[in-house]
Symmetry: C2
Subunit: 355 residues, 2 copies
Amino acid sequence: MSVFVSTLQRLQPGRAVAAFIALASLAATHAFFVEMGIFRKSLDVKGKHCYITGGSSGLGHALALELVKRGAHVTIIARGQARLDAVKAELETHKGPSQIIQAISADLTSPTSSSDALEQAVKAHGGKCPEHIYLCAGHSLPQFFIDASPEELKSGLDETYWVSAYTAHAATKMMVSQRVHGKIVFVSSFVGYISFPGYSPYAPGKYALRALADTLRTELVPHNISVHIFMPASIRSEGWENEELRKPRITKQIEEGDEVLPAGDVAESLIIGIEKGYYQITNVLVTDLMRVLSKGNAPYNNIFMDMIYLIIALVGVPIWSKYVDYLVKKDAPEVRKELKERGFYADPAAASTPK
Amino acid sequence: MSVFVSTLQRLQPGRAVAAFIALASLAATHAFFVEMGIFRKSLDVKGKHCYITGGSSGLGHALALELVKRGAHVTIIARGQARLDAVKAELETHKGPSQIIQAISADLTSPTSSSDALEQAVKAHGGKCPEHIYLCAGHSLPQFFIDASPEELKSGLDETYWVSAYTAHAATKMMVSQRVHGKIVFVSSFVGYISFPGYSPYAPGKYALRALADTLRTELVPHNISVHIFMPASIRSEGWENEELRKPRITKQIEEGDEVLPAGDVAESLIIGIEKGYYQITNVLVTDLMRVLSKGNAPYNNIFMDMIYLIIALVGVPIWSKYVDYLVKKDAPEVRKELKERGFYADPAAASTPK
């Protein structure tokens, strides 16, 4: 890091301005070409093996369908056998004669089951590691921190972080050992950039996935494995409906008016993001605003567009944040009243009401 | 979020510029006062019970010493009994007659032990919850993702995330139930903002702590509990020395020249941050640069200074990031050579060398 500081110290103002103008012009030209699709390479998965966790529902299901249509061998992994069978049958109606479709039931929160599922999937491919890993498994059960049990918090992290990290681990080891030049695609969330009330069982795992992707993005460069992370906003699915049922009132208020997109559209955004070569992939404007304020040292997607997002975000996000604070404060007396009614307070008579 | 978008749409350019200038002048004045210490309230812990995890070494130890000197009742929690006893004896030499010093041995990666330790600590205080919780426990064992076992990855997350989250959970429930207007202070890391090769067992837990703090910062407003998170750079301690012993070569290269500060100085920075009312507390300039690029919707510390940091970071961080990429690429042939020598490659003869 000292190199970084000494570089800053060596910069001369005149040169810095000239360099900035030159870079900005280059960036604008590049942005134009990227948006025109000049640099966009179609995601070519023909004859490649795509391994999709959570492939029997929501985003994973939609993605499996699209990749089969593009000629990939597809293995989907999920827990429930019935749904796996149904989706496998559906995928098979879209496949060409040489494509191999597999469905494997496994509990991906266990490291052994995760690597066993991968071992099973490669048998039909002569032991060769899948070229693409899409980590779509996971779900969210929002609730307040004080209402969750330690088991629910642990399960929250298992179902967001470990459900992807163990498969990423087994697959990375296999890819490196076989020198497969693959692609690992994590799926985090809008709530992997920022969090708000209700998400203590969920946001930690989604931030943690971003940390893992941030690490592996550079760590796996020597092995020619590329890493992407998708940060989708809400997806209309059965998982989302379950989530809505138990969401605290304040969480719903904060999210009021947010778009909930169909899984097919979300899968399409993911594929476009990969085709554009983006590392952190988003599917709605608001997530881009959070991305440019949260990405740390991750690369820009399109530096020209990202600077525009940044200017909007620097004004807009603090306003939104104040609005969230206002909603929380407005709801506070109701929260305390409910706790009192539930008998949560140790000594309601003796204790003073919080100011 | 729709409110946010419609607010943006309603903004008129003329008014926006006027508002911006007015806000900037206010911010500059405020920044000046803050830096002068006008708004800084000394951290008053006299007669308060401070509960410090990891209190027998490094930052936790230094913090315990400072808080005892300021008149707090202090309970330190750690694993090893011998070191706990030694630090307890040291703390007692600094205490006044009415101060209660306790040392409790517990494995904080277990939810039951975490809440048992808290229950034990409050006995001497008539069952009353500690007013301040400082979550300093945790350590880092850097290694490459493909070299770690699933058990090492799991332990990495346990020792960074759960070691703090379970105590935060037990303490929050107790604080809310007793209507104690307390303070919860998480300790993350520079590597809680950004990550690079070697930190797959560590960064996920440190990002996850930031997610938990980001959630609780607003979620606990109705209960008058304030949340802070400290993001220190490397601390000179036994933990750091153990870390250095197993750090991959590339991780050391990236960190070359970084300052490693004594625990006492780091504890002082934490206390100053709390006194200034900052939510995300840093102790070196480089972390501030990463903070403004990573904080999402978290509040600014000092908006005027933060805008200056942002301008520096927007130029400097991408340069640093390119430098890290360069180091990783330069080291890549050596990494592959070592894997080959170790027999990591499944079929070294048949497979092609990565380009």
